[in-house]
Symmetry: C2
Subunit: 235 residues, 2 copies
Amino acid sequence: MSPVLYDLSGKDDALRFSPYCWRVKLALAHKGLDVETRPWHFVDKDALAFSGQGAVPVLVDGDDVVCDSYEIMRYLDRTYPGTPLFGDERAEARARFFKFYAERSLAPAILRTIIMDLLNALHPGDREYFRETREKRFGRSLEDFHSPSRGLSQLDAALEPLRGRLDEADFIDGEAPAAADYLVFATFMWARVVSAADLVSNADPVYAWLERMLDLNGGMCRAAPRVVDLPDGYR
Amino acid sequence: MSPVLYDLSGKDDALRFSPYCWRVKLALAHKGLDVETRPWHFVDKDALAFSGQGAVPVLVDGDDVVCDSYEIMRYLDRTYPGTPLFGDERAEARARFFKFYAERSLAPAILRTIIMDLLNALHPGDREYFRETREKRFGRSLEDFHSPSRGLSQLDAALEPLRGRLDEADFIDGEAPAAADYLVFATFMWARVVSAADLVSNADPVYAWLERMLDLNGGMCRAAPRVVDLPDGYR
């Protein structure tokens, strides 16, 4: 039986945008594992009660219930040790940095750029929850937080080390992608699914890497439905 | 015979501030290797002619002449494989990112903050060379480039992922420092030797890590002479 992943979904069930869930889907594909995803919305806290907390991703694999994207990746390496995501202890220590780089450098810059697109992509039942929790976190309205010009300039600065690395190698982790690539790329999948914003110029080495990542696993990520593909995407 | 390191020095021979040379000194100490350093100045191109190029660090180890800080670290791992700096191929792929993080995120922010201090710390014979090459690179005068408020705000943003990592671990590389720690910390040694600027608040997890790094190897880095310690440091 395939593992089951509770996966955040938007106004259409096919819109799957959570960067944390993308980490897990990329990690499962890296291991060659199939997965059955169950659409979930922010307000469906009851549906996750069995996991002891209220956020996705939650992976149910036989008798194992694992929460938190990074912990799920570690679980997959322990349980399915072929084609490791992390590598040995030192390699894993360094992988941790990419988690924080994605969450604290890239994601805030991208969020500032796409937050109104993200709001539009949410399931209608999630919008009030999203607005309330985020406005409390930012200390201002979503509309005031939204600033594509500032977001893109923050992102441009944050991408500098990634440019250096991807100018010399096809993937962050070398000749083939692994944990560091997935941790970072998942943040771009989040933006891609909900927004048409051009975050990275096509002359940027990061752009060429994004294209390579979209092509992995038979183009799994490139094929993921986007708001722009939906007939009623902006209604 | 100890290896010999050509090491950039300032207005006093004891002032050793090059971040690239610090990477090498930290790597040598990590291996428990003694080193004989030779003070060098930017304009002493002839003294390095034997190496085929004109920049430090240059390490002369028996018959081996190795240039470029990162290549010297790799050389040390190949030649003295005990207590590895990098680890296996995947760990090394991830270490590359820290080189770019130090050089492209942290160093530009720090330089903007300390460039006039750096100019003051240089050997008088190096100042014209430094001003000419840097003003050409920045497209403006050192005085116009100098902006501690902008530099510190850039640095604050750039430190976010490092804060995340150092909030959970003593060192970037885990329980003990290795290549990633040295690649990043060397940039802070550069600032420490030439400037009294407070780059990181003492409530920051990065500050506690800097203190730990200063204490390594019997306080080798803490003992390194600084401009502020020289009687004629600001004359």
